[in-house]
């Protein structure tokens, strides 16, 4: 039972990763790519971590996995903001 749930979560995670990467390649400009990548990537990683957490041996590992997801979430949100702001700044300069 746990195996089935974990497999579903992990496969869903990879699906979102690939969706985000395809969006990175196919979307027309930086801002739309930022949207696609940041949201899809973090969701994919979250599903992946949820699937792996079901298989962990102890609570400490689960807490570490959760910390990884939170760190990536906060870091990508900040990075997306900073990258977009930098691109905006360069647009108004030139």
């Amino acid at each position: 039972m746990i195996n089935i749930l974990s497999s579903i979560l992990i496969l869903a995670g990879v699906f979102f990763y690939l969706a985000g990467s395809i969006g990175l390649l196919r979307l027309p400009d930086l801002y739309s790519r930022l949207h696609a990548l940041t949201k899809a990537d973090n969701l994919g990683l979250g599903l992946l971590i949820a699937g792996l957490a079901l298989h962990s041996q102890d609570l400490f590992t689960v807490l570490k996995l959760l910390l990884i997801w939170l760190a990536v979430l906060a870091a990508s949100a900040t990075s997306a903001h900073l990258i977009a702001r930098q691109a905006r700044r360069q647009e108004t300069d030139s």
């Binding site: 910390l67 760190a71 906060a74 870091a75 900040t78 903001h81 900073l82 702001r85």
Partner: protein, 332 residues
């Protein structure tokens, strides 16, 4: 099925590494090549993990993916823009002259010699019969080494002298950085979004450094990785435009810089005085001594890497600070 998939995984990872390395060297734009180099470091960290070398993967993640990227980007930003690869008005670029041709040939021959030596060593390793004398020697003596992580045992006990010399090399490097003069002017104060990131990222990085230092005794980790994580915390504070980035002021900074080598030497010489060989820990004390040395080494390594990012003496220790103090004393 699993091994075949893993082989394909390995092949694609290898392809990405080679492609990134090639692209990083082949582009003419310096900023682009730095970004490609950062990506190279990221993929390399995964490759080390795949090769079952978590200690190296930790170091690569902290330094190759994080710190060296920030360091190179800071250096590139300081160059005047725009960067043109070839400037036709520049009198220096009048076609390759004799000296540059000689230099190019010398570098090519040296690189070819290095590649040939590595290829020969690799072929030799593959063709000789496998033996496990070294792993057996390590696992045989692990119980008396004071730690249960074989990498830490080798670095801090069996080959402690080599690590002492490595820390001395780092100390020499930071002396070289100090000789560059004042550190570069800092960064603009961060906006609210970046500030929010700093508020939680720096404490977590410091905790991570402490965790890596502690866990290094029985799992992958250790002083070097912990020092790199600590330096990353200081780099984040610096990028956010803070004036206090964790480096102590004045003479305390010099003590921290020398702490790694200093504590190592103190331990070694004390053991000599007690009649034991230099850095020959008594097995009962080995664990505690290793932790002591690793703590001092972590602080030194963190200070060294952070000072490398600063690019010179920090404002509180340098010539400008002394001059400012003199002016204040005169005006009083």
């Amino acid at each position: 099925m699993k091994t075949m998939t893993l082989h394909v995984f390995d092949g694609l990872l290898l392809l990405s590494i080679v492609a990134l390395a090639w692209a990083s060297l082949a582009t003419t734009d310096v900023r682009r090549s730095v970004i490609l180099f950062m990506a190279f470091g990221l993929v390399l960290a995964v490759a080390w993990g795949r090769l079952l070398a978590p200690d190296v993967a930790l170091a690569e993640a902290a330094i190759g993916a994080g710190l060296s990227g920030a360091l190179l980007l800071a250096a590139v930003h300081r160059q005047p823009r725009p960067l043109s690869p070839v400037s036709s008005n520049d009198s220096r670029h009048q076609g390759p002259n004799g000296l540059s041709i000689v230099v190019r040939w010398a570098v090519t021959l040296l690189s070819a010699a290095l590649a040939g030596t590595l290829a020969w060593a690799l072929l030799h390793a593959f063709s000789s019969t496998p033996h496990n004398m070294l792993p057996q020697a390590i696992s045989g003596n692990l119980a008396a080494s004071g730690v249960s992580n074989p990498v830490t045992a080798v670095l801090l006990n069996f080959r402690a002298y080599d690590t002492l010399l490595e820390l001395a090399v780092l100390l020499t490097a930071v002396l070289g950085i100090f000789s560059l003069g004042q550190a570069t002017p800092g960064y603009q104060p961060a906006g609210p979004v970046f500030d929010g990131l700093v508020h939680w990222l720096v404490p977590v990085l410091i905790l991570m450094a402490g965790y890596l230092l502690w866990v290094g005794a029985h799992a992958p980790g250790g002083a070097f990785q912990a020092g790199a994580a600590l330096a990353a915390a200081g780099v984040v504070l610096r990028l956010a435009g803070r004036s206090r980035i964790g480096l102590p002021d004045g003479s305390a900074l010099r003590i921290v810089m020398a702490a790694g080598v200093g504590v190592f030497l103190l331990v070694g010489l004390s053991l000599l005085l007690l009649g034991r060989p230099f850095l020959g820990y008594p097995p009962a004390w080995a664990g505690a001594l290793i932790l002591l040395i690793e703590t001092a080494a972590m602080l030194s390594i963190a200070a060294t890497l952070l000072l490398a990012f600063l690019g010179g003496q920090p404002e509180s220790t340098g010539v400008k600070a002394a001059a400012k103090q003199q002016r204040e004393e005169i005006s009083l």
